[in-house]
Symmetry: C2
């Protein structure tokens, strides 16, 4: 928790500095709006894994920043396509600036984030481009995918931007031999995150109003989503812990990394004000 508060503050500073240095005045104001007030969970993963593998904190900065840029851009686009008028407690960017501007600013922010990532080398860039592509395929599967593909859909849609920081931490810490394991760890965390997010929707919303992967979860389990979520949560959490044991994690990071699944799940359930029946 404390680690998160601190990394969130650092990320907020990085974002502010990045935006203030922007030479393109046309993009700055709106980029600021799009990037305001995030929870910075994904960026925090970059700090945690980078530190756990022995990287210096400053080596995590570009990765955390780029991750949050991509995440914010994807939210801004999601809001357009969902016609959601509220984001992070304020009007959605499109409702303030129009679709037009949001689309172009996103088209500016996305390659800008990729350029920042290219500082970690060409392999990091290449994988990041593929992960970004995966988020788009996931967004489509979220709408049109089959219920049976639920887990694959949330992996593509959500876990891609969790894989991104854990993957980048292998480069930032100079431990690229753990690339695959780190990608897997990010995948587990992202699936857990979306699983609980959909669980919250299934619990709190009228079942006729469920959309996307939450609707798929409800329909796949014929409404008996709780036991399914509990089972999958355990399965991915155990897998994640197995991965952690195979990584040379520095001692003072281990507890925090182990606690991540519960931290993410607890955060989502707490936000929605529902009781934990999962873990």
């Amino acid at each position: 928790m404390e680690f998160w508060f601190r990394s969130r503050a650092v990320i907020d500073e990085l974002v502010e500095k990045f935006l203030d240095e922007s030479k393109e005045w046309e993009t700055m104001e709106m980029s600021k709006y799009i990037m305001r007030d995030g929870k910075r969970f994904r960026g925090t993963l970059m700090f945690l894994f980078n530190g756990a593998l022995g990287g210096e904190e400053k080596d995590a900065y570009p990765g955390a920043l780029a991750t949050e840029i991509l995440h914010s851009a994807s939210l801004a686009l999601d809001d357009i396509v969902d016609y959601d008028e509220i984001r992070r407690g304020m009007k959605a960017a499109w409702a303030v600036y129009t679709n037009r501007k949001v689309i172009f600013v996103s088209n500016y922010l996305i390659p800008t984030a990729l350029s920042i990532i290219s500082g970690y080398g060409d392999k990091a860039l290449r994988i990041s481009v593929d992960l970004w592509k995966d988020t788009a395929v996931g967004a489509l599967k979220d709408m049109y995918g089959k219920d049976e593909d639920y887990v694959r859909t949330i992996e593509l849609k959500t876990a891609s931007l969790f894989k991104l920081p854990t993957m980048l931490s292998s480069f930032s810490s100079g431990r690229s031999e753990f690339l695959d394991t780190l990608m897997e760890a990010g995948k587990d965390l992202g699936i857990i995150y979306q699983l609980i997010d959909d669980y919250v929707d299934c619990v709190t919303q009228d079942k006729d109003k469920l959309v996307g992967s939450a609707r798929q979860l409800f329909s796949l389990t014929s409404g008996k989503f709780e036991s399914f979520v509990r089972m999958k949560y355990r399965e991915y959490k155990e897998h994640y812990e197995t991965l952690l044991r195979s990584l040379p994690v520095k001692h003072d990071y281990l507890d925090q990394l182990v606690a991540l699944p519960d931290f993410l799940a607890f955060g989502l359930m707490g936000e929605a004000g529902i009781k934990n029946k999962i873990f």
Copy 2:
């Protein structure tokens, strides 16, 4: 002209094959719609410059395909933001498939094109990411830029996707020592293309209805756009010819490369049915 007909047919085949091989059924139908019936000018540049520098035709395939994917995605997004209902003689993609789908399919197509480009190596990928970013900045400057920045705006907005294929041809032909010259040549051609496109708008449209760079051109020249366009056209064409002389162009390609500025300009003016007063 004949070269263009042939390369257009080859590109149409490449596009069809690419789409039929798509594993993501959610994207295929709409991607087909977005990519239908292009003039394939930009992809043709890839064939021309690759061939002129001694590359094999097949080495140009990925670059031509990726260029046309990016171009089509950018048009589909432009139509959303402009609320244009007609594109290439049919309903615009958003009017058929909704904004939602077009945004996500574009977010899928763009990194897919970048992945294809990465086959030319990491430097090619890195430059392509930057060029894509430039198109987004250009789109914003098209709306909010100053009239005095007109040439810079059209360079960013339009010439970026002309630079892309000429730049890639340096990698496809194995002549990366000419990278900078080829980028410059693409820039000249792209500026010429947009200059004439805006000229056509200024000639054919009511001046109150001009938007974007065409409006900037009109306003910058206080309505005396013709002499300005003629001057700039000559300037960029001469610069382009100077660049061509510094490249080791194969003899049988020289005439076609030299003719490109007039070919592009003539094509645009012919399409609009206006008389040539420029060259």
